[in-house]
């Protein structure tokens, strides 16, 4: 009856800057003492080191703060978060579905770090920002979560309302020789 496809706010698509499509997202918050048992129930070890990620198949956990993780699932299903919540029954934590709060771009290729450096003040060299590192930071005037998924590929999560602003700036940087 209804076309329940998830709308993307992005305007363009290129090899270097591409939409990552619908992704499951949840914010998990808990106390340090409970990290171990929650990790067991999630089937993914919540990273304790700052700005580090762990992945298990399609699922990843990104450290955003000492009590805050962004859980990602490569294939979004509407009930993914409620199924996760069922696993965590009885645990002292907060799990909130934010699958639609953000949208994601892949920034990839030999110029990936350079394109990001047009608006991100962080050192994105591999030694300072190795594969697997993630952080909540600013791209120009928008808050983003930046996650290095490969030597030349980044996952950039941005709040939906800022998506076109961030994409437009990235495309301008992409067009520079």
């Amino acid at each position: 009856m209804f076309e329940s496809r998830i709308a993307s706010p992005f305007a363009g698509e290129s090899d270097a800057i591409a939409s990552l499509g619908p992704i499951g997202r949840a914010v998990l918050r808990c106390r340090e003492a409970d990290i171990g048992s929650i990790s067991d129930k999630l089937g993914i070890a919540l990273p304790r080191a700052a700005c580090r990620s762990e992945s298990n198949g399609p699922s990843s956990a990104l450290w955003l703060g000492p009590d805050e993780w962004l859980l990602l699932h490569a294939d979004l299903q509407d009930d993914w978060v409620s199924r996760l919540a069922a696993h965590l029954e009885g645990e002292l934590c907060s799990l909130v579905d934010v699958s639609h709060r953000q949208v994601a771009l892949a920034v990839q290729g030999a110029r990936a770090a350079e394109i990001l450096a047009s608006g991100c003040a962080l050192d994105l060299s591999p030694r300072a920002f190795p594969v697997g590192m993630c952080t909540r930071t600013m791209f120009a005037r928008a808050e983003v979560v930046l996650w290095r998924t490969g030597s030349m590929s980044f996952h950039l999560d941005v709040w939906r309302s800022f998506a076109r602003y961030v994409e437009a700036l990235l495309r301008e940087a992409e067009s520079e020789n």
Binding site: F2, E3, R5, V96, S99, H100, S161, E172
Partner: protein
């Protein structure tokens, strides 16, 4: 077309196989690839390039680099691409370049304002302060407009800039600023360690003084070949980034350096769309400043005629550009560089009429005489002649006065180390008595200076100093210690030598007033002496009074001479006089570079909801709410705001409307202590709020004043869905986190922003239920099952939904929350269903009117940071039995319960057609000179057929029924004070 008569037959680093045409003030000239505008003009014998700022005296090219005070030109590419105030000495020539001179009317040769020069004794330093004091009224009408017209250099472009500008952040281990001898060896030594290096230089070609070092060998090779090899090696290293045409303009805290890179200005045809300039914001672990040194002019009478220039500039024009600055040259020297220049120019066949050294005899003087040069020692410089070009100079030596005919006078006053960036970094300078220069002393940042900018002027010293600086910078950046490089063997035909003079040069005729210290701001030695006589002792005061050093060149040539003059006049040493502050930018940079991509649509993020595109298609007029773009109203058939809002309001009251409320802030509060947290944070009591129910919450600051409000729904015993105002979303979440982390870390509760998880589709009006009911699955919407102020998770159109039955309009209403990726789809489905009920889409203006008819406040409109809950009529919301909440204690202060506080009331104008002005003051008829309140909201209500207003009025609730007045420029408007609910006061319409 004029050809280059002053070009040497061979030599220089120009490409003689690539001639370029260009124009200056409409006349055509030719130059070569590798020229600057300055070198190409000089090659054509053109020295006269500008008129001075104040006296409009003819001025020529003085320098060859960023220190140039006179040769400011405008370059025009097309209507939108006109750049004023470019330094001709740094503007690379391209084919077809179109340049104009500045500050002259109508032409350089004939300038009307040159009359200022003849009346100069009436306009000394500080003449503004003395002259335009009286009559007072003349300032606005006469003096100020005239001065404003005469002030400023260059003409700002009138069209919007069509170019784009890029920005990039960069990080490196060692940033080397300046690619002269010291910078090159610093970069190479640091790079060998494996460190990441950025080497920048403001010129097109790297090499600095080596570009003009034609009588030098390094390690047995000519300097040019050594330089080429060095640059090749650096370019081949993966850890080295070379940035030519890049000026390090500012040094900011924690080794944060601003670099401005010119990308296309040197090209005749830049690829379309490519950025013109790029701002680099570099964070460097270590910085090596190798900024070199700037030659000082000598201060003597009439030292500003075209053809009088710096000696090293003349040498550079000869060696780097193959240009003779004159045929017959006199060199006035206080430094051995005058002799080096004389030898090199003489070797090129230029007639050196004399070297006038203000110092005594010396070995360099003897050597010059041996080479056949005429040298005057202990010379005094008495003046020059020549209208648009210097024609002669008069010198006194050994009691004999002599006038030399010449077409160029070269000044060698000594070198001033470029300590601008070091000083910007807050490093401490120290006066060096031997070198007569301020040198970098204590660093404040992780930086070091190398080469001429810290007094190592000789080539071999600069090369070695750079190498050591690079080596130690890499080590400090964490790379293993490596031994210092073996010093390079340099063979220099004529060393730069030493010496120098500070202040006014000796002259046998001190009555001649026009001995310029600051060429760009037209400040003479006499002006500075006048300032000293008038009691200005601090160099900062002298600077502001005389404006010396305050031009766009920031006194690169003038500051030290001004210091010397003040020191001598006041009987103090130079360190006692001090030094003025160096400020960014080192040389002017464009606004475009600083703005970067932040222009037009990208000036600031435009936040858009998932429904934004639909609203644009429907022809909505938008307004900015913070960064959000919100539909303000939806005009039909050319309606204006009022007609559109009247129609939208009536449709909602009579049938149904749809409104995008997605921008409302949303926070999900989860944890066993969620209700306790809410109790402490909001004024309301939350413990007894049932699951599936909503409550209107009010939040105060610690001072007891209303900060924010919004509806809160309880999803589970341990889970609340909190809404905030659109603009308050980030502030409220931040304040909540602050309290949790600092005051209430004992609570087991967490906060997550869900503002953008949900698209919020408000469906409001008597037909609201009929519209959405068929689309909803898994929820009974009947009034008994889902009454006003309910919340539930269910599905709509096959996707998840969080439904709230709430109303900001006073009508039956639902707020359909759906995951925002589904927002547009669900909106469209509701919209299509609504067509059978004449549904309207309404914007923020209608939302404002509808809520005002109901007396609902808007944070920031009725409240202004001084309004308590009771003032706003919200005392009912306070959980009186609660032991505490944020702001509770403040509410108990006597002033907060004063019955004379401003309280929320409604106002009705006696004439229902008059809509009051928001912000208008309110008075009582008996006391019209005392404001007792102000209008906070005022609209025409189409459903009521009259104007309504909300207002904050002193003791307002005790004044119901009183007549008050709103005084306006056209007369007072009579109003009646009424209760603030104008429509459906019993609230029956929400409960259907």
């Amino acid at each position: 077309m004029t050809t280059g008569h002053f070009r040497t037959p061979s030599g220089g680093r120009i490409d003689r196989s690539r001639p370029l045409r260009f124009s200056f003030d409409g006349r055509s000239y030719s130059g070569f690839e590798g020229d600057t505008v300055a070198s190409a003009l000089l090659a054509n014998g053109v020295h006269l390039v500008g008129r001075s700022f104040k006296y409009h005296r003819p001025r020529g090219i003085m320098g060859a680099g960023p220190d140039e005070p006179n040769a400011l030109i405008g370059v025009r590419r097309d209507q939108g691409r006109y750049t004023p105030n470019l330094l001709a000495t740094q503007t690379e020539l391209y084919d077809g370049l179109d340049a104009v001179s500045q500050n002259r009317h109508p032409s350089l040769e004939k300038d009307r304002m040159a009359v200022n020069d003849r009346f100069s004794r009436f306009i000394p330093a500080g003449f503004y302060y003395k002259t335009f004091m009286w009559p007072r009224k003349a300032w606005d009408r006469l003096f100020e407009p005239r001065i404003r017209a005469a002030a400023g250099l260059g003409i700002a472009p009138s069209e919007s800039d069509p170019d784009s500008y890029a920005q990039r952040y960069a990080h490196c281990d060692v940033l080397v600023i300046g690619a002269g001898p010291a910078g090159l060896t610093a970069a190479m030594e640091a790079a060998k360690s494996g460190a990441q290096i950025i080497l920048c230089d403001d010129r097109a070609a790297m090499g600095g003084s080596l570009l003009a070092a034609n009588q030098v060998t390094i390690d047995g090779a000519p300097a040019a070949r050594w330089l080429a090899g060095m640059l090749d090696s650096l370019a081949g290293m993966a850890n080295v980034t070379l940035l030519p045409r890049t000026s390090a303009f500012g040094y900011y805290p924690h080794n944060w350096i601003g670099l401005a890179q010119k990308l296309t200005d040197h090209l005749a045809d830049a690829a379309p769309g490519q950025p013109r300039e790029r701002l680099w914001q570099v964070r460097a672990k270590q910085v090596v400043i190798a900024a070199g040194a700037i030659e000082r002019p000598l201060v003597f009478p009439d030292n500003d005629r075209p053809g009088i220039m710096l000696a090293d500039a003349a040498r550079t024009y000869l060696q780097q550009y193959g240009v003779e600055v004159g045929r017959k040259v006199v060199i006035v020297a206080a430094h051995d560089n005058g002799y080096r220049t004389a030898h090199e120019l003489k070797d090129a066949g230029i007639d050196i009429a004399a070297i006038a050294d203000i110092r005594g005899d010396s070995p360099v003087a003897a050597r010059a005489r041996q080479a056949g040069l005429r040298v005057l020692t202990n010379a005094a410089i008495d003046g020059t002649t020549g209208k648009l070009r210097v024609a002669s100079i008069t010198l006194t030596s050994g009691g004999k006065r002599e006038t030399f005919a010449c077409d160029a006078v070269l000044m060698a006053g000594g070198f001033t180390p470029s300590v601008h960036l070091f000083s910007q970094s807050r490093g401490k300078l120290m006066w060096n008595e031997d070198l007569q220069a301020y040198l970098p002393d204590q660093s404040a940042e992780a930086e070091r200076s190398a080469g001429a900018c810290r007094g190592h002027f000789a080539l071999d010293e600069a090369l070695a100093d750079g190498a050591e600086a690079g080596r130690s910078a890499a080590e400090a950046a964490g790379y293993p210690f490596r031994p210092a490089i073996i010093p390079l063997a340099c063979a220099v035909a004529h060393p730069v030598g030493g010496g120098g003079h500070i202040g006014a040069a000796p002259t046998s005729d001190p009555s001649r007033p026009k001995a310029f210290v600051d060429w760009q701001n037209d400040v003479t030695a006499a002006d500075i002496l006048l300032a000293a006589r008038e009691g200005f002792l601090s160099i900062e005061h002298v600077k502001r009074y005389t404006t010396t050093g305050m031009a766009t060149d920031q006194g690169k040539l003038s500051n030290i001479n001004a210091l010397g003059i003040v020191a001598e006049a006041t009987g103090r040493t130079i360190p006692e006089v001090g030094l003025t502050t160096f400020r960014a930018p080192y040389t002017p940079i464009s606004f475009g570079t600083l703005a970067g991509r932040a222009r037009r649509d990208l000036l600031d993020p435009a936040r858009i909801t998932a429904i934004n595109d639909w609203a644009i298609e429907q022809g909505a007029v938008f307004e900015d709410v913070g960064n959000w773009k919100r539909a303000h109203f939806f005009p039909k058939n050319g309606e204006d705001l009022h007609a559109s809002v009247a129609r939208e309001c009536l449709a909602v009251r009579e049938s149904v409307g749809i409104f995008d409320a997605s921008t409302l802030g949303k926070i999900e509060i989860v944890g066993p202590d969620a209700a306790e947290f809410m109790n402490r944070f909001y004024v309301n009591a939350w413990t007894k709020l049932g699951v599936g129910k909503c409550r209107y919450g009010v939040l105060l600051r610690e001072d007891g004043f209303v900060l924010d409000d919004g509806v809160v729904g309880r999803l589970a015993p341990d889970r609340f869905h909190v809404t905030t105002t659109t603009s308050g979303a980030a502030r409220v979440l931040g304040m909540m986190e602050d309290y949790l982390q600092t005051e209430w870390s004992d609570l087991d509760v967490w906060l997550t922003s869900t503002t953008e998880q949900w698209s919020v589709i408000a469906v409001q009006g008597p037909k609201a239920r009929e519209v959405i009911e068929p689309l909803v699955q898994g929820l009974d919407l009947s009034p008994d099952a889902f009454p006003h102020m309910s919340i539930a998770d269910a599905r709509i159109c096959g996707v998840p939904m969080r439904l709230m039955r709430v109303s900001f309009t006073g009508e039956l209403g639902f707020e359909v929350n759906v995951p925002s990726g589904y927002g547009a789809m669900v909106w469209q489905a509701i919209w299509e269903r609504g067509q059978a009920h004449d549904m309207v889409a309404y914007g923020t203006e209608t939302m404002h009117v509808l809520r005002a008819e109901k007396g609902f406040i808007i944070i920031g409109q009725e409240t202004d940071g001084t309004v308590t809950p009771d003032d706003a009529g919200l005392a009912w919301a306070i959980g009186k039995a609660k032991p505490d909440f944020v702001g509770k204690r403040s509410l108990a202060r006597p002033a907060m319960t004063d019955p004379d506080r401003k309280q929320l009331v409604g106002l009705l104008t006696r004439d229902p057609r008059i809509v009051l002005e928001e912000g208008a003051q309110i008075v009582a008829p008996a006391a019209e000179d005392r404001s007792i309140g102000h209008v906070t909201s005022a609209y025409h209500s189409s459903v009521l057929g009259k104007s309504i207003a909300l207002a904050m009025v002193r003791a307002g609730r005790a004044r119901l029924g009183e007549r008050l007045e709103v005084p306006m420029p056209g007369g007072s408007i009579a109003v009646d004070v009424v209760a603030p609910v104008f429509f459906d006061p019993k609230g029956d319409r929400v409960n259907v």
